[in-house]
Amino acid sequence: MPVARTRSVALLGLSGSIVEVEADLGSQLPAFLVIGLPDAAIGESRERVRAAAANSGCPLPARRLTVNLSPATLPKHGSGFDLAIAIACLAAAGRLDAVSAGAVVHLGELGLDGRLRPTDGVLPAVLAARRAGVQRVMVPTSNAAEAALVDGIEVVGVASLAEAVAWHGGDVEVVPVDAVLAPDPAEPPIVHSGDLADVVGNPEAVAALIAAAAGGHHLGLYGPPGAGKTMLASRLPGILPDLALDESLEVASLRSLSGLGVGGLSMRPPFEAPHHTASAAAIIGGGGRLIRPGAAARASHGVLFLDEAPEFPSSVLDVLRQPLESRTISIHRASAIASFPASFQLVLAANPCPCGQWSPKGESCTCAPSVKRRYLSRISGPLRDRLDLELWVPRLTSTAASGDAAGRVSSAEARRRVELARAVAAERYRETPWRTNAEVPGPWLRGAGGMHPGHRATAAIDRALERGGLTMRGYDKVLRLAWTLADLDGAGLPDGDHVGQANVLRKAPQWVA
């Protein structure tokens, strides 16, 4: 058969599309051409495929082989097409069953010895194949566990090209080889093991953290060094509810695309804490041709923690504004537009001033007022505007530090409360696209959705709005937070107390001005 075809997957961001890999065997002098917008890595696959085929006991015929990756206008990247190209060529040469080859999606990079090497992005590629109705996918052995996380598609793991050819009915001697193993999946950057009960004193901060978790609210933590901001933030993932299956697949897909490896499906929300020297591309994702996700995308369905937020370049912080609004990240390049999910919960931590010693009680801060003002203004107004909760975390006094452990809340208990509150909210938003209070837009809160808690409860903030002490956006934030507090209390509707408490929690601390 002079023409044979098989399939593979091209990834753009998190979305994949099926690529037909056609091979034509022509009666011409030996040549090997790959066309259809391949990048440099695919161009080099000619050499890998030729050597791998020869070393697997089924050399490519000494003829002109033309491989076309179609749709030909879609840019394709990476070495994951090697296996598909080799299988298509060998099918065209009649070395294996072309019908069998045509029905399977092939992913994997070839070594010169014919062994298959793991590639990045297998999980999103297999998800895309399933979406396209593919029934079977062939991947390197070391990616088989990752591919098998996807239900409803048969995964064939092969260690070498010879094994793949034999599977398709080709007549080759299969020499057992040691599969090339993927490096161990990188550990998530911060362990979630810290328990909320470790937080000594500061019950207001703990309550606010639970509220942030329950409503999915973005959170700002301000306080002197050593007050426990980082400690609080790192306990947030621990009190978030487990991920749903599709969310957890998305989290794993993003890790796979980042080349971090996927050990198994984790139901715990991710936690990303990029250092303040991170570039905009590291946070949001980027890359010239192959567009990779950044920390914000990897934190999707979890927590993005920016410690020492004012130390980040403001240009880096401001790239987060659009994803916070739209909950997706779009990366535009000349060749393509990639989008990644960005439904992360943002936690900012900052010192109040460069020396860090300022406090509302007027302690020994040595910074000039203008220096202090400039320091916090590095977190731009529009970004702070998106934080539903802003919290002052004071340094502990000795009496609070020796406080008894009885009043403390454990992570497990907090998580249970968060789960209950989220269930109430999810029930309320059943008919809407939202699931948490933080997602609900202002007009809906103020009446369009019949959600206004009544003017008796909101009397105080109604007055503040009238007097100009509260902006419309601030008003919405208070309402959102009040709903979360009511959900946590099991109250059907926020009352005056909830609104009052919410107003205190969201209020930009006076010291910032």
């Binding site: 009666s27 011409q28 002098l29 030996p30 000494a62 003829r63």
Partner: protein, 118 residues
């Protein structure tokens, strides 16, 4: 005669037999001019065919066809034009073929034939 020249001669004989068996009428073998040599000139269905024969005793240095480089092909085209001029051949269809002879010692030779390679 060196080993390689002997092998080449053998290959050309085998190729000529193969061509004749396939209905080619041989016109000339080893036509030389100062620019090079054409292994076989033959006629096939009103078409003048210039045949490059490559012979190898093993595939250790690659398949015989792989030895026909684009530069070699370009030279063959020039030589073909010279042959036509020298022989006063009237304008007519012409093409270049390649024949690979893989003559492993102690085995019967494997002959492959590509038509119209450029």
């Amino acid at each position: 005669m060196s080993h390689n020249a002997e092998l080449g001669r053998l290959g050309e004989d085998l190729a000529a037999e193969h061509l004749e068996a396939r209905g080619f009428r041989l016109i000339e073998r080893n036509w030389r001019c100062r620019h090079g040599e054409i292994d076989v000139v033959a006629a096939h269905r009103a078409c003048t065919v210039f045949v490059e024969v490559k012979t190898r005793a093993s595939e250790r240095y690659g398949h015989p066809f792989e030895a026909i480089t684009p530069a070699k092909l370009a030279r063959l085209r020039r030589l073909a034009a010279m042959w036509c001029e020298a022989n006063g051949t009237k304008a007519g269809p012409a093409r270049i073929d390649a024949v690979a002879v893989l003559a492993r010692p102690g085995e019967s030779a494997v002959i492959e034939h590509l038509e119209g390679i450029g």
